[in-house]
């Protein structure tokens, strides 16, 4: 009869669904470790590293399969996808690539495995410098992540463009005002070129803080976060001044046009077209820049060695050390829900051993965090700027190491976007930021 046929159909479908659900490889889970990391057309160094480590690891650990799961996305989307994967033990990765600034927040969320026991037995751990050991430490004093390398930031400029504008070389600006003066000179000489770029706006993500606002803010007399009192600072003049610098840069057309800057892929143009094509005078960028231009890089440009100059980014009026840098870096971590934490840590340790760390630090132009890599001649000769950027470590700052930082960073990005588009004045944007910070951390964790 008709109904019985329908019922049979329903039964078949349900049976199929049950069978499908039952398929999940519960029994084999501990034999496979999944490795999740970011991969973009401009960032393949980690993919290459893992492709190399996978067969070595599988040969050394018979019976265990390594499954590489690159996520093709920008940093913000990568973090979101990773966080979504962490929502279920079925999809949570065993080993993953994690930005240092998210470590504390994700430890609070229960995503990362405490590595103290493993590190105590790992003889390589003493090779890591103190900063690197701190980078993966959470509020409870335990270490949850091991850095792949670190980075510093400064000014990268095109010698030929500055020369054409009559700027004497080497260019070593001593204050924000000198940067503006030089930028105005470039704009006057060649109006269609980008005079100076400071990353701003939401699409550039964390870059708008690290290669943007933060470089300004840490060069003022104020700070974002009072580490002693563990309170966030609101209503500071330095915050308004930093936004005002961005407003001037974009308002006077010295920076890239806001619509270009608000395209999340602008950095690719900057490395791939603007510098090689002599269309930009200068930018704030990270120590990794040569990784794009070197041989086999994403935007290969051998002439960068001669055409590019570097300078430390000055403090607001040359106060303090006179220069400022920010450091971040990425780590490898083991998932708290991993079915096979031992093998996962072994994989992490193999990926970060001397030979692999050296190769990765060179391939990705990272500042080494292992002492044995940092003194290796191959590392020191990898690119002509590595010594300069390693020295910037002496003036560098680290981001506030709190679990709230990622959300607050997003608010800073929104503030820079409001200013660069002219939708808010620096004072208004700073006030909106203050309100947002109070909303995130609460009145009691804020100071004037």
């Amino acid at each position: 009869m008709r109904f019985s046929r329908v019922l049979a159909g329903v039964a078949t479908v349900s049976a199929a669904a049950l069978a499908f659900a039952g398929c999940s490889p519960a029994a084999d889970e501990s034999k496979t470790i999944t490795v999740v990391y970011q991969k973009t057309d401009g960032f393949v160094a980690l993919d290459e590293l893992f492709q190399k480590v996978k067969p070595e690891f599988e040969a050394a650990n018979p019976g265990i399969t390594v499954e590489l799961e690159p996520i093709v996305a920008d940093e913000g989307d990568y973090a979101t996808k990773l966080a979504l994967m962490q929502q279920s033990a079925e999809t949570a990765p065993d080993v993953f690539y994690e930005d240092t600034f998210r470590v504390r927040s994700d430890v609070d969320a229960g995503y990362l495995l405490n590595l103290d026991e493993y590190l105590a037995e790992w003889e390589d751990w003493e090779q890591f410098n103190d900063g690197a050991k701190e980078a993966g430490r959470a509020d409870d004093g335990s270490v949850y992540a091991v850095p792949l390398g670190t980075d510093t930031r400064g000014i990268w400029y095109s010698k030929s463009v500055l020369e054409a504008a009559g700027v004497p070389l080497p260019w070593e600006p001593k204050s924000w005002e000198e940067i503006l003066e030089t930028a105005r000179a470039v704009k006057a000489a060649s109006p269609d070129k980008v005079a100076f770029n400071v990353y701003s706006g939401k699409p550039a993500g964390e870059g708008s803080v690290m290669q943007g606002f933060g470089m300004l803010m840490y060069g003022t007399d104020d700070t974002l976060y009072d580490a002693e009192d563990q309170k966030w600072v609101t209503g500071s003049q330095g915050f308004v001044d930093s936004l005002a610098f961005i407003e001037t840069l974009y308002g006077e057309g010295l920076a890239p046009a806001p619509d270009v800057a608000l395209d999340g892929s602008m950095w690719q143009k900057l490395f791939g077209e603007w510098f090689p094509g002599g269309q930009i005078a200068g930018t704030i960028e990270g120590s990794w820049s040569p990784s794009f231009w070197k041989q086999d890089g994403s935007y290969e440009w051998p002439e960068y060695v001669d055409d590019i100059g570097v300078a430390a980014f000055p403090t607001q009026n040359g106060q303090g050390d006179g220069a400022v840098s920010l450091s971040g870096g990425w780590t490898l971590a083991v998932g708290a829900q991993s079915q096979n934490p031992d093998a996962s840590f072994d994989f992490l340790a193999m990926a970060l051993d001397r030979e692999n760390a050296l190769e990765y630090n060179i391939a990705n132009s990272q500042i080494a965090v292992r002492a044995d890599v940092a003194e290796d001649p191959a590392y020191l000769e990898a690119n002509p700027f590595i010594g300069f950027f390693t020295d910037l470590v002496s003036v560098t700052h680290f981001r506030p190491a709190t679990a709230d930082y990622p959300q607050i960073s997003a608010e800073i990005q929104a503030a820079t976007e409001a200013v660069m588009t002219g939708q808010m004045s620096p004072e208004e944007a700073a006030a909106a930021y203050d309100d947002a910070v109070i909303g995130i951390v609460g009145d009691e964790n804020v100071t004037q």
Partner: protein, 316 residues
């Protein structure tokens, strides 16, 4: 008149209740049997439609996040997300942009243009009809992401539109930056008009030619026929179409995200973009869900409005 119509309709739907001779047992068994085949679809709807809606309403009363303490132990915060939303200076702007987007691109744009094309198609040759239909439906059959990229490439600063304008000596604006709402509204009209056109074509085919002829004999001109004969005859289709395209446009995300990412600043951040930003960029799932619930409410208001005012059978 009203009463008799509705009685007739009710009677048509449920004849058994007014039939004194029907045996209660057989009738209820029959209705169970009739109900049985739809059980799977009701279960599926409950699982995949009602489930997520209830989940997002529940989540909107918590501080669930993707990272930090709240990711591990979310707690109940009552109406905090909603009060915060009401105090957010960006929220009223976002609601306004959403309403502008829906009314300009769906209610006016897609709806009116779709009706106009459908009316004109009734008077042209078969070849013209085929060509126009293909062009209009072409935008509709494109996957949303492809249509969005096409629209982006068209409106971008060095895109097709500005190159065409440059060809005739006009220096085009940077549409996505200077007029983001106009750009996404035009893109959505381009993409969605085919649906309205097809609905109205089908509806117009059902208008009996005798009635139109009678109106012609009575001396009604084109416009009068349209306003007094055609539109009242297809009123049901207009209401259904408006409801469908409104709800669809209210939910448009990919098109705007690809074209402007809700920017510059917040100048094209409609509610779906705002909800996505809060939930997945700021990683506050609870707050993002509260925005999603507000969207459900706005959709409900539009739906009730259409059902109350245009649906035939109410006062006709």
């Amino acid at each position: 008149m009203v009463a008799s119509t509705s009685a007739l309709r009710d009677g048509a739907v449920r004849p058994s209740r007014e039939d004194p001779n029907s045996r209660v047992g057989r009738s209820s068994r029959a209705s169970i049997a009739r109900f049985l085949p739809v059980v799977p679809s009701i279960l599926l709807l409950a699982l995949f439609m009602a489930g997520p809606v209830i989940w997002s309403i529940t989540i909107s009363f918590t501080n669930t996040a993707l990272t930090g303490r709240e990711a591990k132990d979310p707690s109940w915060v009552g109406f905090e997300n909603y009060t915060r939303l009401l105090q957010d200076p960006g929220f009223p702007i976002s609601v306004w942009l959403t309403v502008v987007f829906v009314i300009a691109s769906a209610v006016i744009g897609q709806n009116a243009l779709g009706l106009a094309i459908a009316l004109l198609l009734g008077r042209v040759t078969r070849a013209t009809r085929a060509i126009v239909t293909t062009i209009v439906v072409g935008a509709w059959v494109l996957p949303e992401i492809v249509a969005a990229f096409a629209a982006y490439a068209y409106f971008a600063d060095d895109g097709t539109l500005n190159q065409l304008l440059a060809g005739i000596g006009i220096d085009g604006a940077n549409w996505l930056y200077e007029f983001p709402m106009l750009a996404v509204i035009l893109a959505n009209i381009w993409r969605g008009t085919a649906f309205s056109m097809m609905v109205y074509e089908a509806a117009l085919n059902d208008v009996p030619p005798e009635i139109t002829e009678a109106a012609v004999i009575d001396g009604a001109g084109g416009l009068k026929r349209l306003v007094w004969v055609t539109i009242p005859m297809i009123r049901g289709s207009i209401a259904t179409n408006l409801m469908l395209i409104t709800l669809q446009t209210l939910a448009v995300f990919t098109l705007i995200w690809v074209m402007t990412k809700g920017g510059p600043g917040i100048s094209s951040t409609t509610l779906p973009i705002l909800a996505y930003q809060e939930a997945f960029k700021f990683q506050e799932i609870g707050y993002g869900s509260a925005i999603a619930v507000v969207m459900i409410l706005i959709g409900a208001v539009f739906s009730v409005l259409y059902l109350r005012t245009i649906r035939p059978g109410r006062d006709a």
